[in-house]
Amino acid sequence: MAPISYYLVLAIIMFFIGILGVLIRRNALIVFMSLELMFNAANLVFVAFSRQYQALNGQISVFFVMTVAAAEVAIGLALMVTIFRTKHSIDVDQMNNLKG
């Protein structure tokens, strides 16, 4: 069995790859995929610590996170598809209709 630190470092790297994706990509769908990476990293931390403490309450959280991710994907993809129908682009930076 590998030390818990291996899993945690993996989760942290994954989380930061996700953050980078959110910050640097302009495609809304890829931003969304990066968000999924971030949620997965959090799940990994929960499961790793849950193993460490031999307690199941951390794993319950993973269950809820998966459900929330499913709810978010429904909303997010509906929004992206509908905005694509209106505009034929999902480039976040081109959303100049509202001036930032």
Binding site: A48, E72, T86, L98, G100
Partner: protein, 482 residues
């Protein structure tokens, strides 16, 4: 088995959720020409839920094995959320009709979101905090895009969604580290673990920092504010008004409770970060608002500045005496801000024509002469935003500044005072347009927005004569916290 007591303590939330489901079903049989029935029904649900919350006022206890707690803090905030919801329904009715978006889903989703906020104010477990945050956000993502296929509304929703999910992910990562530090997600378990010396300080600190970033997005303080102006401008105005008040209050509710209960030991480090966030928000919000000619964007930047004001009192939260005072002055300010903000938005919604992205300041020209009541409401709201005496805004700022002085945050108070002076410029410019420029504004059909504006203005004015009892009530209510 769950006891009756468990359900009793979350009765307002349960009533609201069941009511939302009933509206969803009943709305199917309400023809498009009679959608006011749906609005009236949802208002009735909010009133009944508020009645339950009033009846529970003063009661304390925890339900479902410490998943939620009921105390004065959560009761007062629940009532604030429900009244905000009532205002959002009243503002929406004519506005949605004008924009040909009269759909029952609006009310169902609004009620879901309010239930999420109420649960967030009483959440006593980090998983509950996360889930109620999602329950309040997901309906709001849709409500922000309610005017689809209008592009501005869709873009507002997408931006809000992406940044909202981003902040949720950061928050969740923080929760995971706190779990790692203590082995618990429920507040009593975490506190016991910290007090017992079993918790790891470093991991806890990482968790606290990530949580602060996550909440920072929700309350819209300076470096995490990018979604605020675009989302408020592109969303339907009734939702913009609701978000400036209720979402912000919900974010503060969770922030205050989590930090006061879980992280008193991290206060020395957190105080510096909170200081920076507060000062940056006040300076940034107020200076950028000067350049805004669009009323919705101006109110959005003003909301960033106001988040900074509320955070100011919370900087010295490590001191238990100050913390009590900070929470009661934050509650008081949230009430004052709710009245003021709804007043300003309501005046705008009363005048806003269909398919608009918000009024320009010039569009208020001549308001004072043509519609004296609406003009007076606008005037009172603006004075209250600035913090002129004889308004609730004055007392709100007074108590916040007083708390910050008691916590020896003199530089922050000076920044607050100076930025308030700066803000007077842009708030008074609106008043100048309304009273001293000639123009012919046209009030839109439907009187509910005007009614809300006048009620809020009256509230700002009348309550300013009895600030001390209100403040003492807030202070008394939070005594049972922790």
């Amino acid at each position: 088995m769950p006891t009756v007591n468990d359900f009793l303590l979350i009765l307002p939330e349960v009533v609201l959720l069941i009511w939302a489901l009933l509206i969803l079903l009943i709305d199917l049989w309400i023809p498009d020409t009679k959608k006011y029935y749906t609005a009236v029904l949802s208002a009735a649900g909010l009133v009944i839920s508020a009645g339950c919350a009033f009846a529970l006022l003063g009661r304390t206890g925890s339900a479902f094995s410490n998943m939620v707690v009921l105390d004065g803090f959560s009761s007062v905030l629940s009532i604030l959320f429900l009244l905000s919801g009532l205002a959002a329904v009243a503002l929406a009715y004519d506005y949605l009709k004008r924009n040909a978006a009269q759909r029952g889903e609006y009310y169902t989703l609004l009620l879901f979101s309010i239930a999420g906020m109420m649960l967030m104010a009483s959440a006593n477990d980090l998983i509950m905090v996360f889930l109620s945050l999602e329950l309040l956000s997901i309906p709001l993502y849709i409500l922000a895009g309610f005017f689809r296929p209008r592009l501005a509304s869709e873009e507002a929703a997408l931006k809000y969604f992406l940044l909202g999910a981003f902040s949720s992910a950061i928050l969740l990562f923080g929760i995971a580290w706190i779990y790692g530090s203590t082995g618990h997600t429920d507040f009593p378990g975490i506190v016991a673990s910290i007090d017992g010396g079993r918790a790891n300080y470093l991991l806890l600190l990482i968790g606290a920092g990530l949580l602060l970033v996550g909440f920072g997005f929700k309350i819209g303080v300076f470096p995490f504010h990018m979604w605020v102006p675009d989302t408020y401008q592109g969303s339907p105005s009734s939702i913009g008004a609701f978000m400036t008040v209720a979402t912000k209050a919900a974010g503060f509710a969770a922030l205050l409770r989590v930090f006061l209960v879980l992280f008193p030991a991290e206060a020395p480090i957190m105080a510096g970060i909170l200081w920076g966030l507060s000062a940056a928000s006040m300076i940034f919000g107020n200076t950028v608002a000067i350049a805004q000619m669009n009323m919705k964007r101006l109110l959005a930047y003003s909301s960033i500045a106001n988040a900074g004001y509320i955070l100011m009192a919370f900087v010295p939260y490590g001191n238990p005496v100050i913390a009590q005072e900070a929470v009661s002055s934050a509650l008081f300010y949230l009430l004052a801000y709710a009245l003021t903000s709804f007043g300003a938005w309501a005046v705008m919604i009363a005048l806003e024509p269909a398919e608009s992205d918000g009024l320009l300041l010039q569009d208020f020209s001549g308001l004072g002469r043509k519609y004296p009541w609406l003009g007076a409401a606008l005037l009172i709201s603006m004075l209250s935003f600035i913090g002129v005496p004889l308004t609730m805004g004055f007392w709100g700022k007074f108590y916040l500044f007083k708390t910050a002085v008691d916590g020896s945050q003199i530089p922050l108070v000076l920044i607050g005072l100076l930025t308030s002076l700066v803000s007077a410029y842009y708030y008074l410019r609106i008043v100048m347009f309304a009273y001293f420029k000639p123009g012919e504004p046209q009030i839109q059909p439907g009187r509910w927005a005007s009614v809300v504006a006048v009620i809020c203005a009256a509230g700002i004015f009348v309550l300013s004569f009895i600030p001390t009892p209100v403040f003492q009530f807030a202070a008394q209510m939070i005594m049972g916290m922790k």
